[in-house]
Symmetry: C3
Subunit: 138 residues, 3 copies
Amino acid sequence: MIVSKQLTLSTRGNGDTIDMTPGVERALKESQLASGVITLFVVGSTAALTTIEYEDGVIADLGRVLEKMAPRHAEYEHHLRWGDDNGHSHVRAALLGPTLSIPFVAGRLTLGMWQQIILIDFDTRPRQREVVAQIIGE
Amino acid sequence: MIVSKQLTLSTRGNGDTIDMTPGVERALKESQLASGVITLFVVGSTAALTTIEYEDGVIADLGRVLEKMAPRHAEYEHHLRWGDDNGHSHVRAALLGPTLSIPFVAGRLTLGMWQQIILIDFDTRPRQREVVAQIIGE
Amino acid sequence: MIVSKQLTLSTRGNGDTIDMTPGVERALKESQLASGVITLFVVGSTAALTTIEYEDGVIADLGRVLEKMAPRHAEYEHHLRWGDDNGHSHVRAALLGPTLSIPFVAGRLTLGMWQQIILIDFDTRPRQREVVAQIIGE
């Protein structure tokens, strides 16, 4: 069986990192499925999904590493061509990726105790984000 | 229901970045499935899949960041052991990953308007690449 | 049909990289499914999954690039807050990601000949790791 859900999130952009775990758990519960895989996919090319221990220290650490890899204020060809200021957002999102597949067993996500599902919005302005949750299971 | 497709692409290697979106959309249409998940997987360890806004500027920006992370002409132990010249290709491919799972709803991929599916071939020569598309849906 | 398996691995931590391919192939064989997708997910926020050519040279090369990106002995806010020493482990795991989806066709994973499934344990001590393998297929 397949159940489609859509999660909508308001972000502040600029690396804003949101714990999506409660919303994903709610979607799974509503599906009433017991065993399967939930595929999450963020629509758009300047945000990404991954898992992390959701605490301010680690989130700042990840942000600092990403800033070193693809600095906010470096020169990007994307800026020259389109007048945008979010070249680093595109690069970071492509590196981390838009998708996450999480198994569930006996109605529960198989996350670790200190492992949360996060959306990072790399864009340079507040945005409303849509994450598609496709739940395949039985 | 499960439908297996295989997409074959000719690349120039050296970071050649191909927009796979039209091919994936065609595979989905041929499957005649309405709702589910399409799992893409590139065979081989020197290429990767992700999504991006497919325009030359962003692609060059991503390439420059990857060059800084794992430079083409640095020393790699892989070279010493195997006489290869593609150590950076292996490292970049492992970092980005070989797989992408994309939901579809009402027969359409849930991509954003400026979000395309790309294959990046990091190898140092032209190659023929195979991407498996496994479509699970109803 | 959905078959759930759990793979348990003992690691030495500190970037220990384990070839999971034989274990995943065994799980797939036991499922007796012919065509579908196997979703792997590592429980916890200091380990990651990807594919690579499993040979010592490439593994050392990847480790060196990750050390440059998120050095073992840099300062991390995670350390200050929790007295931990594994800030780099969290950052590296979040960048690589906890999940991998691999199609199988005619009972075989669609891996390349030089492409293995690896778990990298970034934590700073030996650990017992659990990888959930959710097999959806027919």
